[in-house]
């Protein structure tokens, strides 16, 4: 997990509140990704970024937005948290669009009550 820091590590929030998760990398990787991990569903891509201010939607993007104003930071915002967004969120980075493995952060466990 060296080089990727996710914050916070744990968060409990109330339904309807906005939540922002932060991913900070020191790897200088161009590509960054947000995944959620749920039992029975594996890892699913929420959003990804292929450069500063360049982002696109993944498989499960509804209810989420992202921003990347600097190479090292990728923010995931839950606009109005719902219980279905209770999950473990992982940030990942890669140097290449397809020829490289990912480096993952340690995850953020989010509980929406």
């Amino acid at each position: 997990d060296a080089g990727i820091t996710q914050s916070p590590r744990h968060k409990v929030t109330e339904t309807g509140t906005p939540v922002t998760l932060r991913c900070h990398q020191t790897e200088n990787h161009r590509y960054m990704y947000w995944y959620r991990q749920d039992p029975g569903h594996g890892l699913r891509l929420i959003h990804y970024s292929y450069g500063v201010k360049d982002t696109d939607k993944g498989e499960v993007s509804d209810g989420y937005s992202v921003s990347r104003s600097k190479t090292e930071d990728f923010l995931l915002t839950l606009e109005s948290a719902t219980s279905s967004q209770t999950s473990v969120y992982f940030c990942a980075t890669s140097t290449s669009d397809r020829e490289d493995g990912y480096t993952f952060g340690s995850g953020t466990r989010l509980t929406v009550v």
Binding site: L45, E59, G107
Partner: protein, 113 residues
């Protein structure tokens, strides 16, 4: 959607034994990757094998790829208690990119001391 499916879902072996996990996928791929996830941690990239490769080694890990059967196997030799983790395969589609990296649901490996 899950492209890769690991088999078995759970595997328990004694320390020193070999562990074999299998992954099957549905569509043509550019590459296939294996990851390890320790409990409560992020995923760690283990090995990437390209579609034109049949076998790859890294330390105690051996990965094979059979594109005609759309399957891959991960062999861990001389297992250790520290190998206890979940193991995931992930595929990049032939004409796709890393944002389309799709993870399977994983094999939970337990190595008993």
């Amino acid at each position: 959607s899950q492209q890769g499916e690991e088999d078995p879902q759970a595997l328990s072996i004694q320390e020193g034994e070999n562990a074999t996990m299998n992954c099957s996928y549905k569509t043509s791929i550019n590459n296939l990757q294996w990851y390890r996830q320790n409990s409560g941690r992020g995923l760690v990239h283990l090995i990437l094998i390209r579609s034109n490769e049949r076998e790859k080694h890294s330390g105690r890990l051996r990965v094979t790829l059979d594109t005609s059967k759309k399957s891959s196997s991960l062999l861990i030799t001389a297992s250790r208690a520290a190998d206890t983790a979940s193991y995931f395969c992930a595929t990049v589609p032939l004409w796709g990119s890393a944002r389309q990296l799709t993870f399977g649901s994983g094999t939970q490996l337990t190595v008993l001391p």
